[in-house]
Structure formats: C-alpha cells, structure tokens
C-alpha cells in the first residue's frame, strides 16, 4: 500500500467504523455482553443505546469509584477481587492497543471522524484555517495529561471515597462531547437535555458538556481535531505507545530542515515530526493518521511500521498524487479563491 492509497482508504475505514461503533447494536446485539468490547480504545460511548462497543474510559472511572474508592473507605483488605476488574479492563485495552497502537484515534474514533468531516466541510467553504501557535503547543499538549489524571483517575476515586458528589463518579463522561454526538446520532436527546432542578453539579456537568459540544462542533470547521488535544484517551494511549509494534518511524534526512510539509500536514500540529528523528519523532500527540507520511516528498524518510515491517513508506510519487488532491493543511484542490 502506498501512502496515497492509505490516506484515501482512511476516510472509508473511519466512516465504516463510525457507523459500526455508533449504530452497531443491530449487528452485534443489544446487551453489554454482546458488545465487541468494554475496553475498546475509541470513543464508542456507553450512553449511546445503539452502539456496538464501549469506550474503556467509563469502566476505569466506575471501577475506581465503585470498587477502589468505596473499599478504601471501608478499610477493607485490598484483594485481587478489588483490583481484578480494573486490571482486566486495562488488559483488554492493552490487547487492542498492541494491535493498532494509537491508530484507534486516527482511524476508528467516531469523534475524531466527525471532527475531520467538519474540518473538511469548513475548508470547502473557505472558512479560516487555524492552528495552535507554536509557542503554546507544549502547554496545550500538557492538558490531556491533566485531564487523564484528574477526570479518569483522581475524581472518580475521591467520589468513591465519599468526598465528592456521586455525579463525579465518571467526570470525563459527564462532559465528553462524544456522549452528545453519538446519542444525538442515534436520535436520543436525553444526553443533551439540561437537568431542571436537582443536583447542581449535575447541572454544571451537562451545561459544560453542551457548551463544549457546541463550541467544538463549530470550532472544528476551522481547527483540526480540537477535542483530540484534550482527550484522556489520547493520553492513555500515549503512556504506552512505545510498547506497541505499530508506530511512526522517521529517518534522518538533510532535506527535512528545509521542508516541514509533514508538520503542516499533521492535524495535531506536532512540530517534532519535522524537527526530530528516530523515536523522538513519534510523540504523545500522534494519532497515527499517516498524513505526514503521505505528504513527505522524500522516499522512505517517514513510514508507518509494524515492528520491523514497513506498512507504508513516504515517496515522491505519493506526494505528487496527494498534493494534486489537497494541500498539506487539508484544503481540497482546486483551492478556494483566496486560500492559496
């Protein structure tokens, strides 16, 4: 497969994945036991009643809340029965992870697919193109780690220990925009609905969820993958990315310093792919979408590899084909008036 073929194939994989993950209950079955996984590392929301799989983040939060937090309070002995479900969730996540590494983000995640579609629409209508200013990128890149530690690990645990309201049992899921996207996609407005009265924290969570969803839906027209920048799933993947056989590889090339097309093509605004070589070029923010490989004009400089096996390798021919279709930033060609 050439990088050009890969980049043409990816939207189809994303579209099929979106349909399957959001509406796939008709294929796999109705009950949780029917789902293909409760630990799929893609945002297939558990609140979506028509889905075919669950996102790993919800069992992690709930197990920290229900089991670990409650048990710590009761001062019970920490046994295998306490940590086993959490361990199993993580192990099944790792089993998927070992196959595709972070390619789940770039190829399968429904929220990622929706954001890419919105960006393509926005650029087709010649809306502004924005990216994170270079000076801000380290700080922005840090946000996902804070979100992971705080919302996936710390708050559910503290809530389970009784120090926070029960609504903090799954704080990330409370504000996750995918919860609104996937449920609306299956005709369910309950996850958009704002509570009237009741628990204030619940009201705040839903208000933030709706605000974030609305903001991101419009911002994605002009800015690539806004939600991915803060997604704890990306951080969870990033923790383990060196362990999986599938990865992005880059050879040193003297011409790299002059080019930088790979960084322009990167939807996550990763500058290291341009400036670094070897393992350093594969950063925590990479989603293995392969756009950098497709837009690299140098033969064999960038590649997606499964262990020692190169799956896709950059080439001048693929670069020529890619740039005939779109600019590295994602503007479809012929470029809209004034966008050159």
């Amino acid at each position: 497969m050439t990088p050009f073929t890969m980049i043409r194939l990816r939207p189809w994989v994303q579209a099929i994945s979106f349909v399957f993950l959001v509406w796939g209950a008709g294929v796999v079955g109705h009950y949780s036991a029917d789902k293909i996984s409760g630990a799929l590392p893609a945002l297939s929301c558990a609140y979506d009643q028509e889905n075919s799989a669950y996102c790993v983040l919800i069992p992690i939060q709930h197990q920290l809340h229900h089991r670990v937090g409650e048990a710590l309070v009761k001062m019970q002995t920490i046994t295998a029965t306490l940590f086993l479900p959490l361990l199993f969730t993580m192990l099944s996540f790792l089993a998927f992870f070992l196959v595709l590494n972070k390619a789940f983000c770039g190829w399968l995640c429904p929220l990622g697919t929706a954001q890419e579609a919105l960006f393509a629409i926005g650029q087709r209508f010649d809306l502004a193109f924005r990216r994170v200013p270079v000076a801000w990128r380290p700080q922005v890149s840090t946000v996902k780690w804070v979100v992971l530690v705080l919302t996936i690990f710390a708050l559910p645990l503290i809530s389970g220990m009784g120090a926070l309201p029960h609504s903090f049992r799954d704080p990330w899921c409370q504000v996750c925009p995918s919860r609104v996207l996937t449920t609306l996609a299956s005709g369910d407005v309950t996850q958009l609905a704002l509570p009237v009265g009741g628990d204030l924290s619940q009201w705040v969570f839903v208000a933030l969820r709706d605000l974030g969803f609305g903001f991101g839906a419009v911002f994605a027209l002009t800015f690539r993958q806004p939600f991915c920048r803060i997604c704890p799933m990306l951080a969870l993947h990033a923790l383990l990315r060196r362990l999986a056989p599938l990865r992005l590889a880059k050879k040193a090339s003297a011409r790299c310093d002059k080019c930088g097309l790979c960084a322009k093509a990167c939807p996550m605004d990763i500058t290291a792919i341009h400036r670094e070589h070897g393992a350093k070029a594969f950063t925590a923010d990479c989603t293995l979408c392969g756009r950098c490989v497709a837009f690299c004009p140098e033969d064999a400089t960038l590649s997606l590899r499964l262990g020692p096996l190169p799956l896709v390798t950059s080439s001048a021919r693929s670069f020529a084909l890619m740039t005939r279709k779109q600019s590295p930033e994602g503007k479809a060609k012929p470029l809209p008036k004034g966008a050159a």
Partner: protein, 275 residues
C-alpha cells in the same frame, strides 16, 4: 511460553467486557417486593441483594417450584425461606426467575429477571426460547446503564409450550396505579407502552447514590381452555421518563451558545491594510 501468554491475554480480553461492567448502580434496580400492595396478580419479583446476590419473591401465589435460568440456559432450583429465595449468578448478566404454582383454581407460570455484574452471554437465548407451559416474556430487557422508561414501548410474547397465542387479552398493572387491557397480535406479541404515571417531579423521592427511581409492573394473561385455568405473568420495573427532569431545549440553548462563541474563530480576518 509465548503461546501461553498469547492465549492468556486473549482469554482475558474476551472476558473483560463483562468483568468491566459496572456495579449494581447501573443494574435494573430495586422497588420490588411490595407486589401485594398494588396488585392481586400472581407474580414473582426479583431484586438485587448485594454485588453478587439477588432475591426472588413470589407474591399472590403459592409457588411449588422456583427456579433461575442463566443466559446460557443453565437452570437451578431455588428453595424458599421466609417467602424469598437467594440467587447467585451462574454465568452472564440477566437471569430469568421462574415460579410455578397455584393461585386459586389457576396454575401459574410467573417470570421475572434479575441482573448481575457478571461475565457471560447475553439473555437473548432464554428470552427467545420460552420454557414449557403458558409463558409471557419480553422481547428484550434493558441494557446496562438503562431501564425501561415511561413512554417506552416493549413487546411481550405470549406462548404455550413455545407456540405463540394470538388474539389473547393481556393485562398490564403498575405500582403507580395504572391498569391497561391489551391483546396479542397474530404472532402472539403485545406491545406495552409504559405509562407516565409517576408522581410530579417535585413530589418524587431523592435518588440515593445514583440509584434510579423505579416502580414495579406486571404483565399477565390467562388461558381458560382445558380442565384448569392457566395464568402467565412477567413482573419487572420501569422508571420515569428521563426528560421529566431535564430539558432538551435548554440543553440545545447551551450547545448553541457554545457554537456562537466559536463563530468569531471561524471567520477569516481581513489582512491589515485591506479596504
């Protein structure tokens, strides 16, 4: 060694989804055990009793046989103590509870379901293959994190020894006081729409620790042909409509507000010096 490691990992991955399922917070909930106060229909009710145990309680009937059927079809007889039986999960989430007995002159087949956070298959098979005798079972049970809701329609099928019974009257009663009379169609199905009969929002009790408010219901049908009248029932719980206490309109306003905040960002800035 590698093979063993791979097989172990694969087995762990395969069993993890069910193990990863959440606790009884998400399980179909309590609110049963008071059947006698709101209905005289013979029934069996089930409710969770801890993380890996549930209780089955026949009501308005004399139960001769009480059994639980796991999603894989495995059946175990239960013994009654003080009017209730303890159920341990065998395999899978939903287990069917079956009570056979008498109520007056009629022989009764009562059914219900209990939910466990337990690995194993879905209950599709046990709902599709009804046990012998007159049986009334739902087409599906609520998913994890969900429950039957007021306004939701669920089909139930009336069968005798697995054969659908068309044109039969079916009665629905709820703990909130609703009584409905429906009838099965040509394939033995009857569609039950759970009524919006919960008290007004401001008169409902607080939901403790995320446990949703529920009320019991029982769907029943009688067959009066033959020497002895027969009755089948299915009892479970349903909850209020989620939108009773939430407004999609207000939610949409917040989403639109978010969109409005992003609009200045998507517009192109005019270059400095441009007319």
């Amino acid at each position: 060694m590698r093979t063993i490691a791979f097989v172990t990992l694969a087995l762990l991955a395969a069993s993890a989804p069910a193990l990863a399922q959440h606790e009884n917070h998400a399980a179909p909930p309590t609110g049963r055990g008071q059947a006698k106060s709101w209905t005289t229909t013979p029934m069996v009710a089930g409710r969770p009793a801890g993380r890996a145990e549930a209780l089955a309680m026949p009501a308005n009937m004399v139960a001769d046989i009480l059994a639980v059927v796991a999603p894989d079809g495995g059946r175990a007889d239960l013994s009654l103590e003080n009017g209730q039986a303890r159920i341990k999960p065998r395999s899978g989430n939903y287990h069917l509870v079956l009570a056979q007995g008498r109520a007056g002159d009629a022989t009764v087949n009562a059914a219900s379901a209990v939910y466990f956070s337990n690995p194993g298959p879905a209950p599709t098979k046990i709902l599709n293959d009804p046990p012998a005798g007159l049986t009334l079972l739902p087409e599906r049970l609520p998913r994890e994190h969900a429950q039957f809701r007021a306004g939701e329609a669920v089909r139930f099928r009336l069968t005798v020894d697995g054969t659908p019974l068309p044109g039969m009257p079916v009665q629905v009663e709820t703990a909130n006081g609703t009584h409905q009379k429906l009838g099965t169609d040509l394939d033995g199905w009857v569609q039950v729409s759970f009524p919006a009969d919960f008290p007004p929002v401001d008169q409902r009790p607080e939901e403790a620790h995320g446990r949703p408010l529920t009320a019991g219901f029982v769907v029943s049908a009688s067959l009066n042909t033959g020497a002895q009248p027969r009755l089948a029932s299915f009892a479970y719980v349903y909850g209020p409509n989620q939108l009773d206490k939430a407004s999609p309109g207000f939610g949409a306003v917040f989403a639109l507000l978010g969109m409005a905040c992003a609009i200045p960002l998507i517009l192109r800035r005019k270059p400095k010096g441009a007319a």
